[in-house]
């Protein structure tokens, strides 16, 4: 393949050089040029390989899979995992039980109302609720760290009930 191209290059260059030496003979067609079309369209080789991407087989990386949901929401002034959060806890617990080398941070959050440090403690309570639920499903505490972001990293900005509800949350973050 490579030799083929080199040969074509040499022939083409020779033709161009010949043309330069004889600028006035415009109607003359260099003889060598006739062999060029064969060289520029090489036949498909039976040694060519077309690669195929399968993507990762880790379900954690599937944006449409159940593990893509990593947030557990809480009611106002509540620190227990709601029914709608249980599948999230179960799915990630199953994954962590199968993948013992994977570790997660569980980050608890609160809405903006109240004191900074007390909110940090309340966010911790939410993270601990998720940690305990996962622990009861067999996930080792060595794979989990429950921490709090309190009111410091709100997902939703704004001082209204929908923003506050969005921020009463614990997030599972893989490390």
């Amino acid at each position: 393949m490579r030799n083929f191209k080199s040969l074509a290059f040499i022939i083409t260059s020779a033709a161009l050089l010949a043309a330069c030496k004889t600028p006035v003979k415009l109607n003359d067609t260099p003889v060598a040029e006739r062999s060029v079309p064969a060289a520029t369209t090489p036949p498909a080789s039976d040694r060519d390989v077309r690669p195929v991407e399968t993507g990762t087989t880790d379900p954690l990386d599937d944006p449409k899979g159940v593990l893509a949901n990593r947030s557990v929401y809480f009611d106002f002034d509540s620190y227990t995992v709601r029914d709608d959060g249980k599948p999230v806890v179960e799915n990630h617990s199953a994954y962590l039980n199968k993948n013992k080398s994977r570790k997660i941070l569980i980050q608890g959050n609160t809405d903006e109302r109240g004191g900074t440090e007390y909110n940090l403690a309340l966010g911790q309570k939410r993270a601990e609720a998720v940690r305990k639920s996962m622990n009861s499903l067999g996930v080792s505490d060595s794979q989990m760290e429950a921490v709090s972001l309190g009111e410091e990293k709100p997902k939703a900005t704004g001082s209204n009930e929908s923003a506050w509800a969005e921020n009463r949350r614990a997030d599972i973050v893989y490390q």
Partner: protein
């Protein structure tokens, strides 16, 4: 319990010298029985980068304790003063002085405090300062005036730490400024939140909580060298650092045992020891001034309430009983007054309690994160207004209130530093 009187904005005194301040001070409400004091321009004070007499006037006005009379003239500390004239203008005291630029580029700031009633000298000071700290020399003169005329130590030369944050830009700064909000210096700049700064008793270090490791971790930073150490990075959350009065230990709140409890740790991170023991949240520890007691917030009885226990740990006793949400205890340096945040009627208010009598005083509404001035006369706190968070100061008797505002960012988490040598 007494609710504070609404402030008369018409009677507000504005601190004229703070026009280019990064934190603007507005005063609403005045104290009764103000001491009338005349402040003269200092001779040759224009040679220094800061106008010393204007800073003294602003400090005295902001305290609410003085009625400042602009002398309208320049008087050096060496001039002969006609006391009768000043007495006639209603001034009980007169401040005079001068600023001299020395050959090495530093400044000699001199002042005299005169009693116009007795016709005598009450105090005099001479300070050699670099250009950068001429502001500080003015604050020190104001402190001296406050001490001589009220008997209490002034806090004008102290500093404050606070967090200046712009969440949209992921810009979080721990800043240090003079108590009047001027002379801002950045101590920490981070892309992640910083909370709960706490000055060491010697004023040289600040403990704080940083989220740079995606979780709260406690650091202590030497302000002069910028050197910082991790004091607590236990599994889980690490927060709410509070210095012991001797500066050797921090009381902290950690979740390492599965829920927030109060611990003590040496400032080098060694000697971690659990102090509180409950099934609920125990957080926000604060040492009493004598170091014998730790006040803290606990939800062991349901909602958060303030408790106290021996500094070595042990049985806790409940301190607050009114309302269902009482947090953020702070004790005044004299050990007599407790300030805290209470949620009543929906909003969060700053309260003070006389610990001996249990008498409560509502000081301000829309308040969180209180911090006492080192002389116990004022409480700084974070307050929300116009969608932004700023700082405000209220006198412990509730009569004088100031708001420190800025043009950009959210200012929160104030902590008032100690007296410095």
């Amino acid at each position: 319990m007494k609710k504070i009187t609404p402030f008369l904005f018409g009677a507000a005194m504005l601190a004229g010298a703070a026009s280019h301040a990064q934190l603007r001070v507005e005063i609403a409400g005045v104290g009764s029985n103000q001491i009338p004091i005349a402040v003269a321009g200092f001779a040759d004070e224009s040679v220094a980068p800061a106008q010393v007499s204007a800073i003294i006037k602003a400090d005295l006005e902001r305290s609410g304790v003085f009625k400042v009379i602009d002398a309208g003239t320049v008087i050096s500390e060496t001039s002969n003063v006609d006391f009768g004239t000043w007495k006639g203008r209603g001034a009980d005291a007169l401040v005079v002085g001068s600023v001299q630029k020395l050959a090495d580029g530093s400044f000699d700031v001199r002042y005299k405090l005169l009693d116009t009633v007795k016709g005598s000298q009450l105090s005099t000071l001479s300070q050699g300062v670099t250009a950068k700290y001429t502001r500080l020399s003015a604050h020190k003169i104001a402190d001296d005036i406050y001490l001589k005329l009220t008997g209490a130590r002034g806090a004008f030369a102290t500093r404050i730490a606070y967090v200046n944050e712009n969440r949209g830009a992921h810009d979080y700064r721990l800043e240090v400024a003079d108590a009047d909000g001027e002379g801002t210096q950045v101590a920490v700049r981070s892309n992640e939140p910083i909370i709960s700064p706490a000055w060491s008793p010697d004023g040289g270090k600040v403990a704080y909580v940083s989220f740079e490791q995606r979780k709260p971790v406690i650091y202590v930073q030497n302000l002069m060298t910028g050197k910082r150490t991790v004091v607590s990075n236990q599994k889980g959350s690490n927060s709410a650092p509070a210095w012991s009065p001797d500066g050797t230990k921090l009381a902290v709140a950690l979740s390492k045992d599965g829920h927030y409890q109060v611990y003590s740790v040496n400032i080098d991170g060694t000697g971690l020891r659990r102090l509180s023991n409950s099934n609920g949240i125990d957080t926000e520890p604060q040492f009493s001034a004598d170091g014998q007691t730790i006040y803290f917030t606990s939800d062991r009885s349901g909602g958060p309430q303030i408790y106290k226990m021996p500094a070595s740990g042990g049985n806790a006793t409940r301190v607050t009983f009114n309302g269902n949400y009482n947090i953020s205890p702070r004790v005044a340096s004299d050990g007599k007054t407790l300030a805290w945040i209470s949620q009543r009627d929906g909003g969060f208010s700053l309260y003070a309690m006389d610990l001996a009598s249990g008498q409560e005083l509502r000081l301000a509404d829309g308040a969180t994160e209180p911090s006492f001035s080192p002389n116990g006369k004022y409480i700084m706190y974070a307050t929300k207004g116009g969608g932004r968070t700023g700082l405000a100061v209220v006198s412990t008797d509730g009569r004088i209130k100031q708001r420190l505002s800025t043009n950009a960012g959210n200012i929160r988490e104030p902590n008032w530093g100690p007296f410095m040598k």
